[in-house]
């Protein structure tokens, strides 16, 4: 595909002697799109996202992101690649010894920005995302929703090209989940490709976007609710 940003070619993945999580899966995602990733609990949604951010090397097939084969990336290249990918982890993965502000500023620090500059930018981001006043709060003192927003803020600090969100609404009530989706749509309009793992059907209906459905090791891509099916690799 001409404008393809994520390319899976006959990718298979399994843990040790367990069943295949992905079996001979091929699909492409275009730049600037917004996809939901759905499937039953434990079906492998997080694993698929992990494959995209180069968290696994033990898979078969070829994964190309931005045209580069992830398998052959060295540590240095992987780090630079990950700086272009924002990840909202299901379990947040905030650093407990750093303040919320420093956690959010971290991606900029990793790129070599000066401490104070990165903190100033992170402070603006915190205001924008609704965490103003919590700059010096330690992550352990934040609520689930606040942590979620802190992780989102951290994931977009670098202005990533792809945003991977693993069940980002899992810790949020309906109102905050809807706010989060508005935020994602705003980011998507800004050109960020978004893949959001969720099993919240209400959200996929209320904010319609194409759906990557994962079941029994196979991936199928469906149009938003109310539209015809646009692709299926099966």
């Amino acid at each position: 595909m001409h404008n393809s940003i994520v390319q899976f070619e006959r990718v298979s993945l399994k843990y040790d002697q367990g069943p295949y999580i992905l079996e001979d899966v091929s699909f492409n995602l275009s730049s600037g799109t917004f996809h939901y990733l759905t499937g039953a609990s434990g079906v492998g949604k997080s694993s698929l996202l992990k494959l995209i951010y180069s968290g696994f090397k033990e898979y078969r097939g070829t994964i190309r992101i931005f045209g580069s084969d992830l398998r052959y990336m060295k540590n240095q290249a992987t780090a630079l690649y990950r700086q272009q990918v924002g990840v909202i982890f299901q379990d947040f993965l905030l650093l407990d010894h750093l303040t919320t502000l420093d956690n959010i500023a971290l991606p900029l620090r990793l790129k070599g920005e000066r401490w104070l500059d990165s903190r100033k930018k992170a402070q603006q981001m915190m205001k924008w995302i609704g965490l103003g006043g919590l700059e010096e709060a330690m992550p352990s003192t934040l609520s689930g929703g606040q942590k979620q927003r802190a992780v989102i803020a951290r994931s977009v600090m670098n202005k990533p090209k792809i945003l991977l969100a693993d069940e980002p609404t899992g810790n949020l009530d309906d109102e905050n989940a809807a706010k989060l989706l508005y935020l994602f749509e705003e980011l998507n309009r800004g050109g960020i490709t978004i893949i959001m793992a969720t099993h919240n059907k209400d959200l996929t209906t209320e904010f319609p976007h194409p759906i990557i459905r994962l079941a029994e090791g196979q991936v199928s891509i469906h149009p938003p609710f109310g539209h015809e099916r646009i692709a299926n690799n099966a």
């Binding site: 090397k57 540590n75 990840v87 650093l95 750093l98 502000l101 971290l106």
Partner: protein, 298 residues
């Protein structure tokens, strides 16, 4: 506008949470002190060796047992002097006077009132031409023909042996300094490895959000520098204190150096630069250890 806290944690890896790691700086301080001690001793020995080499006369000493008859003793001396003058390579011969012997041997060890005082021995020193190869066993045999009770001591040989022993000690001290340096490197490598295991989770998160290996290595390097600066200050303090005590109490003549020839500048340079050198080596060691360990992971 939020007030930016300058005291905020500046390390992305929580090194300070591991209390035991602070003990490392004490170990490093001790190592800096020992390295300084070794290098200073080596410099001092080198300076002493130079003096001793310069002072080392090329020659031998012959001693005849005391004779009760002064006339006979005088004739014996004349005969011996004639014999010694004939030996090829002998530049000068000198009868060791009572004053000289007294200056060599302590008064308390050989009081003049002692009946069998060594002052009654006849001692003659011969200075040799350093370019001439001397066969000491041959000289000894020749002298024993005429004076069966004579004792010959080859000064050149014994001094050279002594200098070799001192030089070996100097080399050993340098090797010891090197070994202490290697131990410091291994200490840091081990501590860094332990740090990588302790902070595995944090490092994993940092890498997941795009931290390059060199960024993580830099964190460990900065922490190692912090520890080595603290250790360096401790080592510097110990060294300076020890050196000050030593120079105020030591009898310099024991080392054949004077206050003018004592290597003050060299030793102070070692005391100042050893901690800096150790800090640099430790930083490199920490950086290399992290880069190597992370390169083994995928």
């Amino acid at each position: 506008m939020l007030k930016m806290k300058t005291s905020a944690v500046r390390s992305e890896i929580p090194f300070n949470q591991v209390k035991g790691s602070k003990m490392v700086f004490g170990t490093l301080g001790l190592m800096v002190f020992l390295i300084t001690l070794c290098l200073s001793s080596s410099i001092l020995l080198e300076r002493t060796l130079q003096t001793w080499r310069h002072e080392a006369t090329q020659g031998f000493t012959v001693t005849l047992p005391p004779v009760t008859d002064p006339q006979q003793q005088f004739l014996q001396q004349i005969e011996l002097l004639k014999l010694l003058k004939k030996i090829p390579g002998v530049l000068n011969i000198e009868i060791v006077t009572q004053e000289k012997r007294t200056s060599i041997f302590d008064h308390w060890a050989y009081p003049a009132s002692t009946p069998h005082s060594p002052l009654s021995f006849q001692t003659i020193e011969a200075t040799l031409d350093s370019r001439v190869k001397i066969d000491f066993p041959q000289i000894s045999s020749t002298l024993e023909i005429f004076f069966p009770t004579i004792h010959l001591e080859a000064g050149r040989k014994s001094k050279e042996t002594f200098l070799e022993i001192v030089q070996t000690a100097q080399i050993s001290i340098m090797i010891l300094a090197g070994l202490i340096g290697i131990a410091a490197i291994f200490t840091i490598a081990f501590t860094t490895h332990a740090g990588l295991i302790i902070h595995e989770r944090v490092i994993e998160i940092l890498r997941l959000i795009g931290a390059e290996d060199r960024f993580i290595a830099k964190q460990f390097q900065s922490y190692a520098l912090k520890l080595s600066v603290k250790g360096g200050i401790l080592g510097f303090g110990l060294s300076a204190l020890f050196y000050s005590l030593l120079t105020s109490t030591i009898d310099l003549s024991l080392l054949s150096v004077t206050s003018k020839t004592f290597p003050y500048a060299e030793i102070w340079s070692i005391i100042v630069f050893s901690p800096i050198l150790v800090a640099v080596v430790i930083m490199i060691s920490a950086h290399t250890t992290v880069m190597f360990a992370l390169s083994q992971e995928t």
